[in-house]
Amino acid sequence: MSVEAREKRQPWILLSPALTAITLLLFIPLLFIFVYSFWLRTATGADEIGFYLDNWREALTDAFYRDILLHTFKVAAITTVVCAMMGYPAAYFIARSKGNKPLLLLMLMLPFWISYIIRTMSWINILGVSGALNTFLLWIGVINEPIQMLYNEATVILGLVHFLLPFMVLNVFVSVDGIDETLEDAANSLGATRWQAFVQVTLPLSLPGLAAGGLLCFVLGAGTYITPLVLGGTSDAMFANLVFEAIITQLNWPLGSALSLMLLVVLGALVMIYNRYLGMAQLMKGLG
């Protein structure tokens, strides 16, 4: 075999385990879901195999689904903005700190060692009626009886921020860490204050990282069902909860399939737009 032929084959050989896994665990199940979405669930509870557009019609025309989709995007967008505002300064601090960067990064990764569900549930112990905060407020006498702080949109966003903040920090960190510090020195020497130097130089150069972190937070936030399930009230359902409801509670796989594909397409489109306008090349530049 010639060197060229070997070099051409090598990436495929290296990629094959990952490609096999993705094919078996992602594309084939997705195909199943796609096929399911055209079946029909009958009143008897059995699935009618065939090519019916009823699920799609319902998913695309019912205002109920549209409203929840918009609500989902609103929650994901607020979460993303909060993550960006909280995460950027932290990431900047870690990237520019001298010395113990590895320790700071380790502390950032620490929450990942605890299950996301447990982390979400922990808020019940903090904010619940008999949780830490209520107990404390009762004890110092600010309130006479416990207040219900849980099960609203704010706690859903709180839970999502808690879940997604590290993703934002990591992305921005990688981006800021790759920006030469002497660029800020140069800007200062030319007459810019530290803030002006940040706005003129570091911020624009770190935008790819901010965009990548934002995309990740938005997509993960918009696709979650655990946080609204655990920390949200009845009116705080997000789109993935509808899928959960259809498939697990009502056992209506065809409708659930159509709904989940709908969410997938919308979020996929978002990733495509990101790719088109900021691009992976831009992302790489931000990383290096």
Partner: protein
């Protein structure tokens, strides 16, 4: 344009002292080079002048004004960083006008100043490009243009040529000196390259381990080093143990084991005060390897054996043995060099030696 003064400057990082008690006067309009090996504190000094580091002790004056508490963005300095530090997301033109935006300059004057700066560095047409579309040498010039367009009081350059390859480095050396002459700005240049320092400077500040070893004009530092360190850092030197027999207005007489009595002129013996232990410094370029019996009148000679021949085309570096001492000689080649192992003679003129005090 301003003078720069360091008064009793000390810089410590934790318990490590990077700059010991330093006093330095950089005259207005001068080109002063901080020269020394890596880690000797050159950058630290430069960053303190720039305001990127605070001195632990002492005062920094720019144009006679104490600037210790003046932040960097108010010091009006032009800095060229070793890696150029051009803003990668801005075009060359945007890079150059960056500093002008923070000054009270009518916006109608800005394009003219920008173009003048590009013309000065002889890259008039690259304004619309991004830094990564330029070669290393061109980026270097743009970094310089960006630093001087703001008409700084002092220009600070930290090893600006070290990232360039050898040929380009020599071109830029000439270019940089031309620009500095043209605008006449006080310039502090940092390098570990002795030939850069000798070629460009009005004054050289030789540093070692956080201390200033010698300050002087290039010829003075080269011909009359104040210490063994300086003698060896600016090219190679032979430093021989000697005994000073007498020193005074008529020069000094040094007694060496290899060469006997050497009579140095007064300007070469300023560093010995009187009789006592001393050292004789012989630059490798001044020590001639010759055929036996061919030394002209007045040269001091000793028989030698050629041990190593390092042929460099126009020049040759010999390591020769004289008695039990190895000496280094860097000679122009006339004809062909001496062969390894051949018997020869080393010779030098007394006025090419210089004296150091002490052991």
């Amino acid at each position: 344009m301003s003078s720069v003064t360091l008064k009793n400057i000390v810089k410590r990082f934790g318990s490590f002292t990077a700059v010991h008690q330093t006093d330095l006067e950089i005259p207005e309009g001068a080109f002063v080079t901080l020269l020394g090996p890596s880690g000797c504190g050159k950058t630290t000094n430069l960053r303190m002048i720039a305001g990127l580091l605070d001195p632990t002790e002492g005062e920094i004056l720019i144009g006679g004004r104490r600037v210790n508490d003046v932040p960097i963005h108010k010091r009006n300095l032009g800095i060229v960083f070793q890696n150029y530090a051009l803003f990668p997301h801005k075009t060359v033109a945007e890079n150059i006008v960056f500093g002008l935006k923070y000054r009270d300059i009518p916006s109608s004057d800005i394009p003219g100043k920008m173009q003048a700066a590009l013309d000065l560095v002889q890259l008039p047409d690259v304004g619309a490009r991004y830094p990564k579309e330029l070669s290393g040498g061109q980026q270097q010039r743009i970094a310089l243009a960006r630093a001087i367009v703001i008409e700084p009081d002092v220009l600070l350059l930290d090893e600006p040529l070290s990232a360039l390859d050898a040929n380009l480095r020599e071109d830029m050396r000439v270019e940089l000196k031309r620009i500095q002459d043209q605008i006449g700005v006080t310039t502090v240049f940092v390098t570990h390259d002795q030939s850069e320092a000798l070629a460009m400077s009005d004054h050289i500040v030789v540093m070692s381990a956080g201390r200033i070893e010698q300050v002087g004009a290039p010829q003075e530092v080269y011909n009359n080093p104040s210490s063994e360190f300086v003698a060896n850092f600016l090219g190679a030197s032979n430093v021989l143990e000697a005994e000073c027999l007498e020193a005074g207005p008529k020069g000094a007489v040094l007694l060496t084991t290899l060469f006997g009595k050497v009579h140095l002129p007064v300007e070469k013996s300023l560093r010995v005060a009187g009789a006592g232990p001393a050292k004789l410094v012989l630059r490798a370029e001044k020590l001639q390897v010759m055929k036996e019996g061919s030394a002209p009148e007045g040269m001091i000679t000793a028989p030698a054996t050629v041990e190593t021949v390092d042929y460099q085309g126009q020049t040759v570096r010999y390591f020769v043995r004289v008695g039990d001492t190895q000496l280094q000689a860097l000679n122009m080649i006339d004809d062909h060099p001496f062969a390894k192992g051949s018997a020869a003679m080393v010779a030098f003129r007394p006025r090419d030696g210089s004296a150091l005090a002490g052991r």
